[in-house]
Every structure is written in structure tokens, then in C-alpha cells.
Symmetry: none
Subunit: 465 residues, 2 copies
DNA sequence: GGGTATTTGTCCGTATGTATG
DNA sequence: TCATACATACGGACAAATACC
């Protein structure tokens, strides 16, 4: 590099690139730059000489044009020898192929089933033992009603990194399951608000609102997610949505509707959006969908998440992120709620996250589920005339539109006859509606990888496809 | 990653890399990206934002140049630590949530406080380790929504022995706290029933019923417990009572009223009695009070109990015993509720009970609390002209009628000035009523035995007694 | 514990738009 | 209009570090 310390003069009428060109050409001809030498990269030389890359480029181009130098694409510029006319062959691509085969058998396609083969039991046990051995005091104290601070800190950090959720440990409430947090939330929001829920949707929210004084309004869902446009005309105050991946339909709430939804929420004091981000950890296509909460600037989004899906169902830890105003009310009004999550589990999980094992586990599981998803789709595609995969390809399940003259009930029944369980979309609908085709929810996540092909084939067989 | 969902505008005259730079810089300064956080890799972020890696690189370079971020070759970019950044952010900075400080309260006489010095940690740890070491499969499976069978068996056995409760494992539902079980129960009983609660009473039940469509009727309490005689004239369907030891008043529901109550419940299809037996384990006087449930032959009593009091608060395990009819409905309608208790904790407790350690622990604690109770009363008796101990002598607290011209508010305030917390009876009342004397709830159970004398003396001192 | 696949920062050449004279 | 200089942004090749098995 220093070999090219030429004195460029900006005030000179000779252009910079030409001054540089002449200098380098001279250095080569004088033998001070041996044949085959790689010239400095354009960036390096430009930075070194405090000139633009393009100026260097022009210089190099001229040197190439005049035969002093050879430019090899994406590699560099080399001083030529006379014999030098050969080119270096491009590198070859690597081929990857890995699809390990395993065993096991199960046939329940319930969308809440998840993979349990890959839980990092060794690590978990290690932290469990370590906590039990070391901690005495922290188990004896009352504990904070929102949950252990160490864990909330880890979650806040994770949520920000992974989902862009703006929150601190103080904004988080832990609970032993989404249902329990929802109950607390509904209690917090009070008896006056009117709820809107997606239809079809996560029916648990409707069940929990069974005793609620006001009627629950269904919100229709299409390929762009919940039809939030009608909210302004409704009397709804609080909507429950699954924007990242609608349950069970699979559609993603469009950017348009997100903004509409947030604007709607922002324009009413009692309006809130409950964002259930239940399977956001598992997206397989490139495009990633930011959380609603991350787009919200008015403190109107209540964010819900869970570890039951990302770890194992026996770990009952979920969380909600409350906007500041609501959190204040929570701390004032719901103090009587002790945190419902085991303190031991909380500490184990905190450690698990702190050590980076949670992220590793997610990465690992993403691959696992992706393979399962791909395999599932791959097996269904050849039957396009009778099957259509509906919704976004992510999470733990897909929705199948089946066109083989069977009704949803038939499809469920036929599967059952072969010891398999599938679930009709209509089971998740509030207002029954006509579909041109019966739809089946196919949760592939819980089927062991090695069994998946067999399971799907058996399913298609039982449907005469 | 999604944390950096900034809205880049290509049409903006501000270059992409600069928009991104400003955004990230701001996130760091606002404390939303904690110190030490690894920024997303250039590739990942570039892909996520749909821009070139080099654009990200330019951004990162600028961040490095300005000292916000440290770049480690082939490892990643890391947000610098506080000390590294201090000089930059002198201007503005939102304080990040900090670990809440330990309360300066020396003695907290909250009635829910219990003794934590005598928890058999060694045994508990032993079972914990043993379970974690041995069990693999049982943690991976879905688990029963009522709770682990082994534990429910132990509880059924214990309840029969200790409280005469007639039940089998099948009649029990486990939950992470009474509040959570109550919520489920209310959901199960549906929106049509009318609730009656003791007044004063366990205010949590009232809070949980805040959103409930029907009004909650207060039931007066006297020295013989809740005045259940008025039930027939009311529209109440379900009553919540603490018959063994009224909370907080301390009275015991008389045999007369018990029969009246059971008869009332038996004579209406939707009528039920919720019996919260929250501290029945700890009676110090000879006579033991049988549970309502044990006297019921009509399947009208719902029995509630908890381990949070008999073990340590950090173990969140409570249970309810449902009559057959209700259990059937529970299994049909509330299937979506996964059991909210940690499976690990459930198994540890089951083992703990099975090995007889729970009974040993109860015996031990009964003595401890009895000593604390006796010591407390002993210290108060000399001041009978100004203090009167109200209610039955059992459980974790007593009610003090104070006659020193101070109001309840004063008494609380004076205690607080000496770093102590006591709680006014009025806080547990629904309908505010006149008492001839202010009453204070004095939970002695959580005060370490060695300090109890000092604590009580300090309290009396602060009240000028 | 060692080998391999993947991730990650680094560096490269390239293309386009703009301001200036 | 054209040459010059610069700024911005892109996609790809490479090797060290890391994760994974």
C-alpha cells in the first residue's frame, strides 16, 4: 500500500485519476511493482489516498485498458506478465444434504402439539440442579407478583431482540399460561369494555369471556388477516388478534390493516389491542413480520407470548407486556394475584436464557419445524387438484382446503378410523359460515420427523387421495 | 432482530445507512438496546431490512466510529458498556428499569406472611434432584389438565385423613393459587348465578368478581361466623365462606349455621358453597373443626385448599375438590385450561407427601406457630385496657381491637414510621361500617421467632401503648 | 474432543445518481 | 454535453470464528 504513496495534487489541472494512473504505470514500468502483484483494493487505496473509490476505479480501468493490469471480477487487480492470459476458474458451489431419519409413531395433528424430541433436557436439568443447590433465600421470600425480576429481564431483552417489542422488565407480568394472563387482563380492563375477537380464532378467549357482561363481537378474517376496517363502526373497545400468524387461518395481518388497527386503538381512551404472538418464534420464510407492539407508539398494544410452545408444554410460563398506564393499574388493583409460575421454573428458565441456550434451542427448533413443514407441504403438493394449502407457511400448523367431496366431519372421521386426529376449521369459528370447501387444521409440529411422511401418507390414504 | 424494525424510506433524501445509523443510535441512547447486546449480523439485518450488507456495514462502521458500538472481527458488533458510553450520553437518557430495592420494612405483619425459617429445604431438594434425575418422559408429555395424578392421589388421601374431606384423585383440580382456581370455578359456574361473600372477608374473591355481570352480595359476619340465616331471603346462589377460621375476623362458623348452610345449598339446583379452608392445618386449641365438605351429603360443597401457606409461598400449588356433577362439567367445558402448576413442583410435592415429610412438617410448624401465637398474645395481654384480641386463636393472624384514641389509619401510619406494616380491618370490608374500635390485623406468622418479642414491643411502642 | 457445516465480519468489484464546472 | 469526483447501494467471495454433531 505504502508503495503507492504518490503526491496527488488537487489543484493541478491534471485529473486525480490521471495523476494516479501515470504514477502506477510508472511504478510498474520501473519494476518497483513486480509482475503478478495484487494492487490494493479500490476501497483501501481510495481511503489511503483520501480520494473516492471511483477515482481509483477510473485509474485501474485505464491501467486495464492499456494492458498493464488485469482486473479479475470480485478478486482484485493484478499486474500482468506477458504470458498472463489465463483465468482462474470460479469456485464451485457446495451441495448440502442432510435429512437424518429417526423413529417413533404418533398421529395427532392438533395444532397445539409441538415437538418434544429435541428438548435440551441435559441443559435444563443442569440449571435446575444448580439452582436447587445454590439458592435458598430467594425461594423463601414472597416473590414479586409480576414474576421474578431476573426472568423478566431476560424476557424483556429477548422480546426486544427477537420481536422488537419495546419493554423493560417492569412492563412484564408472568403467568402460568396465556389463559391465566388473559383472565387477569380481562379483570384489569374491567366490565365496561366490549371485546372483539377474530372469527375463526383462538376459541379460548371466547370461552374465558363466557361470564363477561358484554357480548363478544366476532371479527371476520380473510387472507390479509382480521378485517379491522369495521372496527370504527362497531362498539368494540378491545380486540384480540394474532397478527403475525392468524390462528388458525394462517394469514398475516397486512401492513395496511396494522396501521389502521393501531390508529383505531390510538383514537379511543379505552381502546386496546391484545396481540397474541403465540408462534412468532417459528417463521420459516424469509420475510419476518414485526410485532404490532413494536409499531405502536400510543401504548395501546398488550403483547402476549408463551414458552409453552417454544420449550415444552410442561413448562407453564407465559408473559404479557402491559403499556405503562395499564401496568400502573395492574399494580394498584391486582396486587392480590401472586405470580402463578413456579419460582424454581422461573429461575431455571432465566438461567437458560441468560446462558444463550434458549436462543440456541430456538434456532434448532426452527430448523426442525421448517423441515417438518417442508416435508408436509411436499407431500401435499402432488395432490393439488384435491388439496390446497391455505395461509402463511409458518408456525406449527397449516390449513388444508380439501376437495374430495368429503365434509369436514367426514374428513375427521376417516382420519380417526386410521388412528389419526385432525381438526375441522369450523371448530374454531364463532359464527358458522359456508365455505366452498371443507377445511382441516393440520398441526404437523408434534409428529416425529421420521414418522411425518408415513403419517401424511396415511392421512391422504384415509381420505382416498 | 425485529427490534431494529425501523422504517427505512428509500425515497427519502436521507441515505439509507444514515437513517439506520440514526435509528440504532437512538435505540441505544434510549436504553432500548441494553449494553453488551450483540447487534444482528450484517447479513441478517440486511436481509431483514431488505438492504445490502454493505449498507449495514456502513451504518455499523459509523456507529463504531462514533463510539457507540464495538466491532469484533468475525464475531459481531456489540453495544458498548455503560462506562464506555458515559461521555456520549451525558445529555439525555431514559433511566432503564433497575432492580427494585428491598423494602426497608423490618417487620411485616401481613396475614399472608408465613414462617420460612423452618422449611425442610434439604428434603425438598433431595426430592427435586431425584425427580429431575430420573424423570424424562413425564415432563415431555402433555400432562393432565387437572394436575398430575400422583399428587392428586396424595392430596385426596391427606384431605381425608386431616379434614375428613370425601374425595378421590379424580375430584381434584390443581392450580397455581387459590385465585386462579376461583377464576376457573366462576367460569365453570357460569354467568347466571349470584354470589354471596363474607363481609368483611377475603377481598380477593370480590375483586375477581369485579367483571361479573351480577352483583355480589355481602354476608355479615359475627362471632359465630357468617350470618347464613339470611340466605333464603336473598337471591344468592353460591356463597364463599371460610368456615373453619373466618378471614380475617377469626370466628368459627357454628354447627348450627353449618347445617343451615348445607340445607340451604341442598335445596337449590344451582346452589353451591365454596369452602375456603385456607389455614385449617394450623389450629392450636384442642378441638378440631371438621370441614363443611365432610358434613355435606348433597354434593354442594366446593372445597378449596392450598400449600402456599403450609409450605412456602414460592410453591404455588392449590387445589379444589369439585362435586361429581361440577367435575363432569369442568372436564367437558374447561378442557382448554392446562394445569397451571409446574409439573416439576407437583412431582416433588407428591414425593414429599408420600414419604411422610409433609405430615412431619405440619406437626413441626404447628408447634412453631403455636409458640409464636402464644408469645404474641402473652405480650399483648398486659395491655388489656387498650387492646383486645378478637376471634378464634388459630392460623397465622389475630385481630386486634385497639383502644388508644388512634384511628386505623393512624395505627397503620405510626407502625410504618417505625418500619413496620400492619393492616386495617376496614381494608377487607365491602360495606364500610362503624366499629366502636379500630381493628388491626396482626399476622405474626412471618416474623422470625427470635425477633417476635422485639417486633411486638416495637409495635406497641409506636402506638404509645 | 475433533471434524464439519454454518455464521459472521471483511473485503472485493460493480452500478447508479448527483453535483460541479 | 462531457469529464471529473463523490456518495450511495448492491451482490458476491473469502476466511476466521462459531455452532453443531
Amino acid at each position: 500500500m505504502e508503495m503507492l504513496s504518490c503526491n496527488l495534487n488537487r489543484d493541478n489541472e491534471v485529473p486525480l485519476y490521471e495523476q494516479l494512473y501515470k504514477f502506477i504505470k510508472n511504478e510498474i514500468l520501473e519494476g518497483r511493482i513486480p509482475y503478478g502483484t495484487k494492487l490494493p483494493s479500490k476501497r483501501k487505496l481510495a481511503e489511503f489516498l483520501k480520494i473516492s473509490q471511483n477515482t481509483v476505479e477510473t485509474t485501474y480501468d485505464q491501467l486495464v485498458a492499456e494492458g498493464y493490469v488485469e482486473g479479475i471480477a470480485r478478486k482484485g487487480y493484478y499486474v500482468l506478465t506477458y504470458e498472463d492470459l489465463e483465468y482462474i476458474q470460479a469456485a464451485k458451489r457446495q451441495q448440502k444434504s442432510s435429512m437424518p431419519k429417526e423413529r417413533l409413531i404418533r398421529y395427532d395433528f392438533h395444532p397445539s402439539r409441538i415437538d418434544t424430541e429435541n428438548f435440551p433436557f441435559v441443559k435444563w436439568r443442569k440449571y435446575a440442579k444448580s439452582f436447587i443447590d445454590q439458592e435458598h433465600q430467594s425461594l423463601l421470600l414472597m416473590g414479586q407478583s409480576q414474576g421474578e425480576y431476573v426472568l423478566r429481564e431476560e424476557i424483556a431483552n429477548y422480546l426486544y431482540q427477537a420481536r422488537g417489542v419495546h419493554c423493560t422488565a417492569d412492563d412484564i407480568v408472568l403467568g402460568a399460561g396465556i389463559e391465566i394472563l388473559l383472565q387477569q387482563l380481562i379483570l384489569l380492563l374491567g366490565p365496561e369494555v366490549a371485546y372483539g375477537v377474530e372469527d375463526p380464532g383462538y376459541h379460548v378467549i371466547s370461552s374465558i369471556l363466557k361470564n363477561y357482561p358484554n357480548e363478544v363481537c366476532p371479527i371476520k378474517v380473510d387472507d390479509s388477516g382480521a378485517q379491522v376496517g369495521s372496527l370504527e363502526q362497531s362498539k368494540i373497545d378491545v380486540v384480540y388478534v394474532t397478527p403475525s400468524h392468524h390462528f388458525p387461518y394462517g394469514s398475516v395481518l397486512s401492513a395496511n390493516r396494522r396501521i389502521k388497527l393501531l390508529n383505531w386503538a390510538a383514537s379511543g381512551e379505552n381502546r386496546f389491542v391484545i396481540e397474541d404472538d403465540y408462534d412468532s418464534e417459528f417463521r420459516y420464510s424469509g420475510k419476518s413480520i414485526p410485532s404490532l407492539q413494536s409499531m405502536d407508539h400510543s401504548g395501546k398494544v398488550i403483547y402476549l407470548g408463551t414458552f409453552s410452545k417454544s420449550l415444552i408444554p410442561s413448562i407453564r410460563i407465559s408473559y404479557m407486556v402491559l403499556p405503562k398506564g395499564l401496568m400502573k393499574r395492574y399494580q394498584e388493583e391486582l396486587t392480590f394475584f401472586q405470580c402463578s409460575v413456579s419460582r424454581i421454573d422461573q429461575h431455571i428458565l432465566a438461567q437458560f436464557m441468560k446462558q444463550g441456550d434458549f436462543e440456541k434451542h430456538l434456532n434448532r427448533m426452527r430448523k426442525v419445524y421448517r423441515r417438518k413443514m417442508e416435508k408436509t407441504v411436499e407431500l401435499l403438493v402432488p395432490h393439488q387438484e384435491k388439496l390446497k394449502v391455505v395461509g402463511d407457511i409458518s408456525g406449527f400448523h397449516i390449513v388444508l382446503e380439501v376437495n374430495n367431496t368429503m365434509s369436514e366431519k367426514d374428513l375427521v372421521e376417516k382420519a380417526k378410523n386410521n388412528d389419526m386426529r385432525v381438526y375441522p376449521l369450523s371448530a374454531y369459528a364463532i359464527e358458522k359460515q359456508f365455505h366452498s370447501q371443507p377445511r382441516i387444521i393440520l398441526g404437523f409440529a408434534g409428529i416425529p420427523e421420521a414418522e411425518l411422511e408415513q403419517a401424511i401418507k396415511l392421512l391422504l390414504e384415509s381420505w382416498n387421495i
